[in-house]
């Protein structure tokens, strides 16, 4: 592989999130994505940024019901990821600029990736 990009991942605390994001915004980074991973009993949130193919990732681990502040005040376009986060993981996100209120990705079962659900997939065709 000749991919010449470096990826850094920094773990941060929930209360530092907005400050860190603000700093990256000021540093000319663009928002690449916000992703979420369901671990056992908690979620790992990845806020990914990029500047000139330098990939930086802020990592946050939160509990099931923890409210996460929206970064859509800093990155206007963050609402898509935050709505997605809410709709598939059930993470409450506070203050999204365009809040779809659970209708961004409407699924048969609410919050399919929620760690508190864990009843296995209720798929009709499995």
């Amino acid at each position: 592989m000749t991919v010449n990009e470096e990826q850094t991942t920094t773990g941060i605390a929930l209360e530092d999130l907005l400050r860190e994001v603000e700093a990256l915004h000021a540093g000319g980074y663009r928002l690449v994505q916000i992703g979420c991973t369901d671990l056992d009993g908690s979620y790992e949130l990845n806020y990914s940024f990029d500047k000139g193919y330098q990939f930086r990732n802020l990592r946050l681990t939160v509990g099931p019901e923890t409210e996460v502040p929206s970064i859509s005040g800093i990155y206007w376009g963050a609402f898509v990821y935050e709505n997605e986060m809410h709709d598939s993981f059930g993470i409450p996100v506070k203050g999204i600029n365009i809040d779809f209120k659970g209708t961004f990705i409407r699924t048969d079962e609410k919050y399919p990736f929620s760690v508190t659900r864990r009843g296995g997939d209720r798929c009709q065709n499995a």
Partner: protein, 359 residues
């Protein structure tokens, strides 16, 4: 006061081949508010990683979207390869590049056709799709599938292209490029097309960057950002310069794609010329353990496969961020103030691939 026209636009709508819904609020025909609503084709295939072996998941990955299919598979494979530290043979890297560029051309021609259709230019639609068929023929001859190739796998590719076929492809590239240039001329120079596109749905460079726009949407606004520059597959060997336009309107986004078609043809030509000999795959052993944000440049922009393995045959998590999702915020910004007639044009100008976006 009943001052405004409110129209549900989609999900079933003839100009949108895929379902997306907009609540359009109009004054006469001017859009004053347009809120998109998606989720009509959400399948939930990210979860399938837990049910499919990591090698089998390639088939799912390439069915995330039938247009960018090959590059999804490529991005996924590269991610797994990176986690598992698998070195792909050179020939496979070149073959991957050729197929990537073929699918980029086919995607762009497809998009140009749909775009022409969105402007009510039926003949141009027909012509674009007619040209696209010759790319599909090449894909079918070399991979066996028209839109879903199924040749990429973890550790390399499943099929080789024989020298004879490579020569034939090389021969047909010149006439094909000429045809594409004739087509591109219409998009770039026709008066009615220019009338429809110039100054429409403008996104400035700063806005585009700040909103996280990806691919031609960003490049049309002057953001020189193209993941092929990072040199995955064979791009590092072949060298590559992103196509950039600066006006940020629909015309610029269209021009970027037209010119990318030419650039892709050139890349294929050089890839064929410099094709190394050797095996096309390596045996992959073991299971992935680790995580990686795999990134690749799709026709629509940068795609990200975040893969996390826990050492079992199944990945623990795959998170796919597709370019269309990144381009939704710019789209929301573009819509207000345009005419109803331009709504399909503007929506199409980000080349929405809802199939990708909804996963």
């Amino acid at each position: 006061m009943p001052e405004r026209i409110i129209v549900p636009f989609g999900p079933q709508h003839p100009v949108l081949p895929e379902p997306i819904h907009l609540d359009l609020v109009l004054e006469d025909e001017k859009v004053v508010e347009a809120i998109p609503s998606i989720g009509y084709i959400h399948r939930g295939l990210e979860r399938l990683v837990q049910k499919r072996e990591y090698t089998e998941y390639v088939y799912v990955a390439e069915r995330i979207c039938g247009i960018c299919s090959f590059i999804h598979a490529l991005c996924y494979s590269q991610g797994v390869e990176h986690i598992m530290k698998v070195e792909v043979p050179d020939r496979a890297r070149y073959l991957r590049t050729i197929w990537s560029e073929c699918s980029r051309i086919h995607s762009h021609l497809l998009w140009l056709g749909l775009f022409a259709d969105g402007m009510g230019f039926e003949n141009l639609f027909m012509r674009s799709w007619q040209l696209r068929e010759s790319v599909l023929d090449v894909l079918e001859d070399t991979t066996g599938g028209r839109v879903i190739q199924g040749t990429c796998k973890v550790g390399g590719v499943r099929r080789d292209i024989g020298q004879e076929k490579l020569d034939e492809m090389h021969r047909t590239l010149d006439p094909f490029e000429q045809q594409c240039r004739d087509l591109g001329d219409v998009f770039l120079n026709d008066d009615t097309v220019k009338y429809r596109l110039k100054g429409l749905g403008v996104i400035t460079k700063d806005e585009a960057y700040d909103l996280g726009a990806a691919g031609p949407t960003a490049r049309g606004s002057g953001v020189a950002m193209d993941h092929r520059e990072t040199g995955y597959a064979a791009y590092g060997d072949l060298g590559f310069k992103p196509v950039v336009e600066t006006t940020g309107d629909c015309y610029a986004r269209c021009a970027v794609r037209v010119k990318e078609v030419y650039a892709s043809i050139d890349l294929i030509r050089r890839a064929i010329e410099e094709m190394p000999e050797g095996p096309i795959d390596v045996k992959v052993k073991g299971t992935p353990d680790g995580e990686y944000f795999s990134r690749a440049e799709q026709p629509r922009g940068e795609v990200i496969h975040y893969l996390k393995g826990d050492g079992s045959k199944h990945l623990a998590r795959a998170r796919i961020r597709t370019p269309t999702l990144a381009n939704i915020p710019p789209l929301v910004k573009m819509l207000p103030g345009i005419q109803l007639a331009d709504v399909p044009v503007v929506v199409l100008s980000i080349d929405p691939c809802i199939g990708c976006m909804e996963r």
